[in-house]
Amino acid sequence: MTISIININYNLISSIMLEESMSILNMILVALGYLGFFAVAGLFLVLMERRVAAWFQLRVGPNRVGFQGILQTMADALKLISKELTGTVKADKFLYNLAPYFVIVTALMGLAVFPFTKDIQAFDINIGIFFLIAISSIGVIGILLGGWASNNKFALIGAMRSGVQTISYELSIGLSLLTMILLTGSLQLSEIVEVQKSGWLIVQGHVPAIIAFMIYMIAGTAETNRAPFDMVEAESELGAGFHTEYSGMKFAYFFLAEFINMFIIAAIATTVFFGAWLSPFGITESLPWLGVFWFLGKTLLLVFLMMWFRWTFPRLRVDQLLTLEWKYLLPINLVNIVIMALIVWLNLTIQF
């Protein structure tokens, strides 16, 4: 009797232990997978940016290292690893060293909630969109820290501009996503995808959805501090902005995080407006694993759109930037929410 109880207890304990260790192992494997994806996506996006920029400017771009320059960014990363990590004399060493990790960890956390396909989603939290907005605004703390701790006026000005910009455009991102939340009725990303099985949200919401998408892309470009909103870096004015004093791998972290943030902004747009991993008209519904390709394809298309912005538009002044946000995007956005609410209330959405 006692032996069997002990046995049961033993079995119970060992099974709990096994489960615990299995889940920890699982977590580590998933984390490593995402880190790998993070590195590959970052390097790929840098290469893509350079090739796309070259094509826009009637150049060829890097095409020597590997087939069509595939390994170029890998070589750049290896070079950056081998570089010395320099710093300024009176820099706040602790904050200075902390800043790149702030930026890169927030970028990595943002990646976790995306539904790459029905089964590939690390963290299906029920406040998904809210989580993403919150995480993406923490990144600016890293930028502010980096600029503040560098003991360099260019870096400080760049960081302060970044603060102004991100805080302003956060509003537009939040409100334009809120417009779409009116349609879905849920913040959970997997729920949002479920809703889109009867038509992508940009089709379901027609006019206000398209306006919301335009506002989202403008605000998202500003949020990632890319041209035409790159006053944070503004090479001609500030050297390199907040990362002027960074070198080697710490610079590479900032650089990679910028590109991953761009990917995240595009991925949010894909999830909320373009049906995430759903194929158009359900043409590959029988092959669910193809969802990954649909998701990445749509995301890269939107990333390309942001690159297109970058190589077309001139940089805004700070006052123009704030005018655009507070006088145009914000009022339009508020009116747009009301219109969307009316459309949802009167059942005027387009559904298949």
């Binding site: 796309v52 070259a54 094509w55 826009f56 400017q57 009637l58 150049r59 060829v60 297109w308 912005f309 190589w311 077309t312 538009f313 145009y328 339009i332």
Partner: protein, 158 residues
């Protein structure tokens, strides 16, 4: 209402700009201006206005057009050109006449300012398109532009 017309105008102009760059993006593979230099060395043709080095063209009779007036030597701001000249007997008239012995050109000192070419009254010198001028010994950059045994083309001085 100017608020809304401004928005409309803004979006329209942004789209115009994007269509321009978009067209360039689509045609860039054909119209790329990048020369992938060591690969296309055989077919590379430099541009008409490219200033590589000063050359003195000779025709098939080994005749050049330089009268030895030394205007280029005077015009050159940094002494790149040195003309070594002599007086010889002109076959037709039998008179003594100035002619060049060696037209010395120091490529290492040349700034490609083109003053010599502008000032030349007989168009004896012009721009060459060669740009592969790196050598291990800088004396190789001092060149004699008129070929040995060459003489002035008839009719240049008339």
């Amino acid at each position: 209402m100017s608020y809304f017309s401004e928005i409309y105008h803004g979006i329209k102009t942004l789209l115009t700009g994007m269509s321009v760059t978009g067209k360039y993006f689509l045609t860039s593979r054909k119209g790329a201006i990048t020369q992938q230099y060591p690969d296309n060395r055989e077919t590379l043709k430099m541009f008409d206005r490219f200033r590589g080095e000063v050359i003195m063209p000779h025709d098939e009779n080994n005749e050049h057009r330089c009268t030895g007036c030394q205007k280029c030597e005077i015009a050159c701001p940094n002494g790149t050109i040195e003309i070594i000249w002599d007086r010889g007997i002109d076959e037709e008239t039998g008179k003594k006449k100035k002619k060049i012995d060696q037209f010395v050109y120091h490529l290492s000192m040349c700034t490609m300012c083109a003053l010599c070419i502008d000032v030349c009254p007989t168009d004896a010198i012009e721009w060459g398109q060669n740009f592969e001028n790196s050598v291990f010994d800088r004396t190789k950059l001092t060149r004699v532009l008129n070929e040995p045994g060459s003489k002035l083309a008839p009719g240049v001085e008339d």
